[in-house]
């Protein structure tokens, strides 16, 4: 087996000054091989976006990190800022939920894409401008030559997300991180963007970390799924196994609460209570307070991610481990 492209081992991230920080990621393990997609699922505050920012070296300051996070063999947690800056854009790139806030409003979209190539590839400006138009065509923007001269506000939300994707793939990165890339879009445009990402992945062979709160979207995009709750993984495994036979009560609960077209229920199952605040994360299992199966033993220690089937693990005391 080859070494994975991306590998996290007991990753920890604490935001805030020393002594007064909040542990937003409290020990996370996962790995991603080249060309594959890891879906990261969870609700607000579970640490999924912070995981993305840790990979990209964009964590808000001050922060403290622990464990290891290897990209192509390099531990990016210990990488100096300049080294991380060289990786970013060239070997790893990220797209965000709201392209309007990620794009520069006073620079044409063609120029913004060309700039990527000039900075990371030292492409001459005239050549970079031509490549920018080709990239806009590549991401499905009609009349790309004219659109390259447009400013972000002159484009629709779907088109802005296509521009973001064009910028992200400009230098053919090995890893694309997509943080809720379709959450602000209509279902129809969402489907177009998901198709585009899959086609680009097929053609370019890039790996993807696909972050979303939408289980349906992750189901359609991911090879493996990491379910996060309050800064830790509660379930990790092959996407269809996790979604069809969830083993952690939180994963099972999330799936059960979704209304299903084609099967109307009188009352939807609910997960009681609210998402736990990482400042007030209890000792032991963070989900215990909302879990119907929880007992006194759940509060004693944080459950370890335990194998339940081939490549499938869950962090719950009530789960019977694989033989």
């Amino acid at each position: 087996m080859t070494a994975p492209l991306l590998h996290a081992a007991d990753l920890k991230v604490t935001l805030g000054p020393p002594g007064a920080g909040v542990a937003v990621i409290a020990g996370l393990d996962f790995s991603l091989e080249a060309g594959r997609t890891l879906g990261v699922v969870g609700e607000s505050g579970c640490g999924k976006s912070m995981t993305a920012l840790a990979i990209m070296g964009l964590l808000p300051r001050p922060h403290a990190v622990g464990g290891a996070l290897r990209f192509n063999g390099t531990d990016v947690l210990t990488l100096p800022a300049e080294g991380h800056r060289r990786l970013r854009g060239a070997q790893m790139a990220m797209i965000f939920q709201e392209p309007m806030t990620a794009l520069n409003p006073v620079v044409t979209v063609g120029r913004q894409i060309a700039e990527m190539l000039e900075v990371h590839r030292a492409t001459p400006p005239d050549q970079a401008a031509r490549q920018a138009v080709a990239l806009l065509e590549r991401v499905g923007i009609a009349d790309a030559g004219r659109r390259a001269t447009a400013f972000p506000h002159q484009l629709s939300g779907g088109m802005r997300q296509r521009v973001m994707i064009a910028m992200a793939i400009a230098c053919k990165p090995a890893l694309l991180i997509a943080d809720e890339p379709t959450t602000a879009l209509d279902v129809s445009v969402q489907a177009q963007i998901l198709d585009l990402l899959l086609e680009l992945q097929r053609d370019e062979g890039m790996a993807m970390v696909f972050i979303s709160h939408n289980l349906g979207v992750v189901s359609e995009m991911a090879d493996d799924i990491l379910v996060m709750y309050s800064g830790r993984a509660v379930e990790y495994g092959p996407a269809q196994a996790v979604l069809r036979a969830p083993r952690h009560p939180y994963t099972a609960g999330l799936i059960a609460t979704l209304p299903d077209i084609g099967r109307r229920q009188a009352v939807l199952p609910v997960i009681p209570g609210n998402v736990v605040n990482p400042r007030r994360r209890p000792a032991g299992c963070a989900f215990a307070g909302r879990c119907a199966q929880a007992g006194a033993d759940c509060a004693a220690a944080v459950p370890m991610l335990t194998p339940v089937a081939a490549g499938h693990a869950a962090a719950c005391l009530r789960v019977r481990p694989a033989a």
């Binding site: 969402q190 177009q192 198709d195 939408n214 069809r244 209304p259 299903d260 998402v275």
Partner: protein, 324 residues
């Protein structure tokens, strides 16, 4: 059965641009909508952003000026009804907004927020209002001591419960909810969805729900209207709409809903393009440039909303007949 709240050939347009010596252009946001909400029914309006669903809701509430047609409440034209009837309508039709962080006054206590509509409509005394606030908090599943606290002390889901309690305070017949779930966490959405279903069963409310979440619409609604570029293109009972959509646009929206556990996505077959600009709508059927089944006729002749079968209407020259 008589309609409680009805749009009759309703149009709304907004002025854009214009300046010194230059008249503003009118952007049609809602174009000739006929839609009736019956007492006690849950009607959902779906469509992409820019389809006019929020503007329609605001026009029904009288929050935006109408440029054509009528809004009828309980048989009376709201444009010509006497002030007293209008005041009564404002009590009977309440709204719940998408953002539970922006729609609650941060300087008022929760009790003050919920009592405010009662004070405005002169309902009850200080003591009975306090009792009513406690009753409403119980109804939406919040503890009675919530009344003395402030909105920032509550989570998104709890704030949406507060917004619902405020809407329910003057005992309305209709609640218009504009994307009431989309700002909430996944595990909280089902709590609010269940509450909406339960409140309707207990109080006999009518809902007009604006949503892009088709699964939530399927769960809550009796009837669904699909809007595209300001017009209603299909109206049907929820099961008919979801199993046999007649308009290709409705079918395209339904096909775009991601399915859980159905395996990895195979690209293709998605609704192409974007909703066009209302300033330059395509000729004929405004949907025809995105429609796989469009013919020459679709580029020339505007399809009218016409009855298809029982309780169902579609604005398409070539409605679909198969099941999805």
């Amino acid at each position: 059965m008589s309609a409680l709240l009805e749009a009759r050939d309703l149009s709304v347009s907004f002025p854009v641009g214009g300046g010194w010596l230059q008249p503003a252009r009118q952007v049609p946001a809602v174009r000739g909508v006929n839609l009736a909400l019956q007492a006690g029914e849950a009607l959902a309006v779906v469509g992409e952003s820019g389809s006019g669903k929020t503007t329609l809701a605001r026009a029904l509430l009288g929050l935006v000026p109408v440029s054509g047609g009528q809004v009828i409440f309980a048989g009376q034209d709201t444009a010509t009804m006497p002030a007293s009837a209008r005041q009564a309508m404002r009590r009977q039709v309440q709204m719940v907004f998408q953002d539970p962080f922006g729609s609650l006054d941060p300087r008022l206590t929760v009790g003050g927020i919920i009592a405010e509509p009662l004070e405005i409509h002169g309902l009850g005394t200080t003591a009975t209002r306090r009792a009513r606030v406690a009753e409403l908090l119980g109804l939406v599943g919040l503890p009675a001591d919530a009344a003395a606290r402030y909105p920032h002390q509550f989570s998104g889901g709890q704030r949406q419960r507060i917004a619902l309690a405020r809407a329910l305070a003057p005992a309305p017949q209709v609640i218009i909810a504009d994307e009431p779930l989309s700002a909430l966490d996944v595990s909280i959405q089902s709590q609010i969805l269940n509450l909406l279903v339960e409140l309707r069963a207990r109080i006999g409310l009518a809902y007009l729900m604006i949503s892009h979440d088709l699964a939530a619409v399927h769960h809550l609604a009796d009837r669904v209207a699909t809007m595209y570029l300001g017009a209603v293109v299909e109206v049907a009972g929820v099961e008919e709409m979801f199993t046999r959509p007649a308009h290709p646009y409705t079918a395209g929206l339904l096909a775009a809903v991601p399915r859980l556990g159905a395996g990895k996505r195979v690209p293709g077959g998605t609704l192409p393009g974007d909703i066009p600009s209302p300033l330059a709508p395509p000729p004929g059927c405004v949907f025809h440039p995105r429609c796989a089944g469009a013919t020459a006729r679709c580029g020339q002749e505007v399809p009218l909303l016409r009855p298809l079968d029982a309780g169902r209407a579609v604005a398409c020259h070539h409605p679909l007949t198969g099941a999805v």
